[in-house]
Amino acid sequence: MNPEWFTPQNVILAGIIGLMAVGLYGLLITRNLIKIVMVLQIMVKAAVLALVLAGQASGRAGTGQSLAATVIVADTMVAVVGLALAIQIRRRFNTVDVSEVSTLKG
């Protein structure tokens, strides 16, 4: 392997792709609502990293970082609401398996 490839940018890029892949894989295989919330978090973290990297690369690091902070806050809301929903669903259906919750099937 060429050591010139190991620039900070490329390492971060690889991290983004890796996080995204892990998240997508999780989304594809899991049916547990809590795990879905978790893998969504992982994917959003990839997006946050991408924002920071893009800010750095374009020379406007401040913009990228402030956007990243916004996304972190917004995403926390998603996690909170998602977990709250998971609790409600657990109470009502006695399960957190999304495939058992879908009542609208053709």
Partner: protein, 613 residues
């Protein structure tokens, strides 16, 4: 001025549809049976529908004064958005072809709405009925006036959708639902041809403007142009119920009769002929196209006339007759007689709307569509009989009714521009037309009563209000032939239409030997019809049909019924197959999203790669 009138022609009916729906949604749903209240509400719905449709008709008639070949109204779509602006502007040109079809749609449309006031009296779901009819009228005017191929396609699809919804109006009747679905699938099949054509134009000329395409059609590669030409022929054949798509129209007769009169006789089914006439200058030179059009027209005219002869359902006879007459119009386009085809379209819209509405009055009064149960109804409903006979004679092509002049013009065009065998076939068709017309009139209005049907003396003031103007028009509309010709001549820059006066046309038709030949053929048809009617006078003109192989074959649409049914079931099969992709399992949906993303990224990467290397 036309820039204001065109939106009015389209929007008056649409606003009416909206008003009726909004009015109905404000009424509280009460379970208490209050007859006076529901009568009053129905009265409002009738009134709104009639008012808005008449306003649309008035706007369309006013538009006649402003016909031109220039773009009268252009609405930019999407503004600065680079993706949306590719759609191009929504443009309207009030040229002869378009304005005249819009007038037919909105005037006959408003007459059908007036007729509905009596016909739909006491029926449920009035707001749905009127809203759909009015949406249809607006969309049909839009289709006629649109000069952008893309928006023509949009309006085309709206008319198909309303047609489907109105055929299936009695949605607890499985036959009505099946008929609607069949009509939808068959016309969609044609719509694909239209869409392909529109995209070919856009890909090659960078515009959806019809006139620009007509001007530059020859710059298209020959293969693409003929793909377009045959795509449009398929679209027209599906919409106008031509061979091999013709069987949806008879099944569409489950619709309420005013709808059959408006959509399935006077307007929507003409859209196909209109399309062929509109694009005739571009496709004229495509090898084989004119022959194909002639063959479709001749086959349809003959087969449908035979099917009309074998049908016992009054509305089905009229439907087959419509198919057959549309075949005449398609044939006229194929032999280069654009004016003849449009003039026959005009005459046919009037007399066939008249026939359908009069048939509706009969069906409304006796409660059946089976002609074998009718007979001798003329004495009980003299006015309906009189107007029906006027319409029937116009259909048969008897002088001096409007159908005579336009049919002779079609045959005349066939003599100068078409092959001899086709002309011969069309002459035979004219004789068959006369034959089935006599048979139909006799079975319904004359002879002996074949069952104890009671004519319900219901409200008929509004029905008569719609019937009488149409009957007068069937007698007199041919006087407009000269005006119509100069109208088309002045506003169609790419069509070669001669500016002839009415007198010249009349002279040309009366002195042509072909006219007299046709008259003899029609007379033979009428004579045979009358003779067999008299011979069988006890029981009307009922042949021993169940044993007759030919009649059974004609009833099965000469095998096309089977073909059409296969297409419909194939479409349903595909639909059911695709339904399996809707699993409701989240993971599969995520899979779909990921695959879509990969596909888009791949396409983008490929295009970037293609540009750099």
């Amino acid at each position: 001025m036309p820039g204001i009138l065109i939106p009015l022609v389209i929007l008056f009916p649409w606003l009416g549809a909206l008003a009726i729906f909004v009015a109905a949604s404000f009424w509280p749903v009460d379970t208490v049976e209050d007859k006076a209240l529901s009568e009053r509400r129905a009265g409002w719905q009738h009134g709104l529908a009639v008012g808005f449709s008449l306003a649309g008709a008035a706007a369309a008639l006013a538009l006649l004064a402003f016909s031109s070949s220039d773009i009268a109204l252009s609405i930019a779509v999407g503004g600065g958005n680079p993706v949306l602006s590719a759609i191009g502007a929504m443009t309207f040109v009030p040229d002869g072809l378009g304005v005249f079809l819009a007038v037919v749609a909105s005037v006959i449309g408003s007459l059908c709405v007036i007729f509905s006031v009596d016909y739909m009296h006491g029926e449920g779901h009035l707001s749905r009925y009127y809203a759909l009819v009015l949406i249809f009228i607006g969309a049909m005017s839009g289709l006629a006036l649109s000069s952008s191929l893309l928006f023509l396609f949009f309006f085309w699809e709206i008319t198909a959708l309303t047609s489907y919804a109105l055929i299936s109006f009695n949605n607890d009747d499985p036959k009505a639902v099946a008929g609607g679905i069949k009509a939808l699938i068959m016309t969609q099949l044609g719509g694909v041809g239209l869409l392909i054509g529109a995209l070919v134009v856009y890909a090659n000329l960078g515009t959806f403007q019809i006139n620009e395409f007509l001007a530059r059609a020859s710059s298209l590669p020959a293969g693409l142009l003929s793909l377009m030409a045959f795509g449009f022929l398929a679209a027209a054949a599906a919409k106008s119920a031509q061979v091999p798509f013709q069987t949806w129209l008879p099944d569409a007769m489950e619709a309420p009769t005013p709808v059959s009169a408006l959509i399935h006789a006077a307007t929507m089914v003409n859209a196909g002929v209109y399309l062929l006439a509109r694009f005739y200058p571009a496709f004229e030179a495509v090898p084989g196209w004119k022959d194909a059009v002639v063959i479709v027209g001749v086959l349809t005219a003959l087969l449908a006339a035979l099917m009309a002869l074998a049908a016992d359902d009054l509305k089905r006879v009229l439907a087959y007759s419509t198919v057959s007459q549309l075949g005449y119009m398609v044939y006229a386009v194929g032999v280069g007689g654009v004016f003849a085809s449009q003039f026959h379209l005009f005459s046919h819209a009037i007399f066939k709307a008249l026939l359908f509405l009069a048939a509706g009055a009969v069906i409304h009064a006796v409660g059946t569509r089976d002609m074998r149960k009718m007979g001798d109804l003329g004495r009980q409903m003299p006015l309906v009989r009189n107007v029906f006979v006027i319409g029937a004679l116009a259909l048969a092509g008897l002088p001096i009714l409007n159908g005579f002049w336009s049919k002779e013009l079609v045959l005349e065009a066939g003599l100068t521009g078409g092959p001899a065998w086709a002309l011969l076939a069309m002459l035979v068709g004219a004789g068959l037309t006369a034959l089935y017309t006599v048979r139909m009139v006799w079975m319904v209005f004359y002879g002996h009563a074949r069952s104890s049907l009671h004519v319900h003396a219901g409200r008929s003031a509004f029905m008569n209000t719609a019937l009488v103007p149409l009957a007068v028009a069937a007698l007199l509309s041919w006087l407009l032939a000269g005006t119509f010709a100069s109208f088309l001549h002045a506003s169609l820059p790419y069509h070669d239409i001669h500016d002839v006066s009415l007198l010249e046309l009349v002279k040309e038709i009366v002195t042509a030997p072909l006219t007299w030949v046709a008259m003899v053929v029609v007379a033979i048809g009428l004579g045979v019809g009358a003779w067999s009617a008299r011979r069988a006078s006890g029981a009307g003109i009922e042949l021993k049909r169940s044993e007759n192989v030919f009649v059974n074959w004609a009833r099965a649409s000469f095998g096309f019924e089977w073909l059409n049914r296969q297409v419909v079931s194939l479409a349903k099969l595909v639909g059911r197959g695709l339904a399996h992709t809707q699993t409701g399992v989240l993971n599969w949906n995520v899979m779909g999203i990921v695959l879509g993303l990969v596909l888009v990224m791949g396409l983008l990467a490929a295009s970037v790669w293609g540009q750099t290397f």
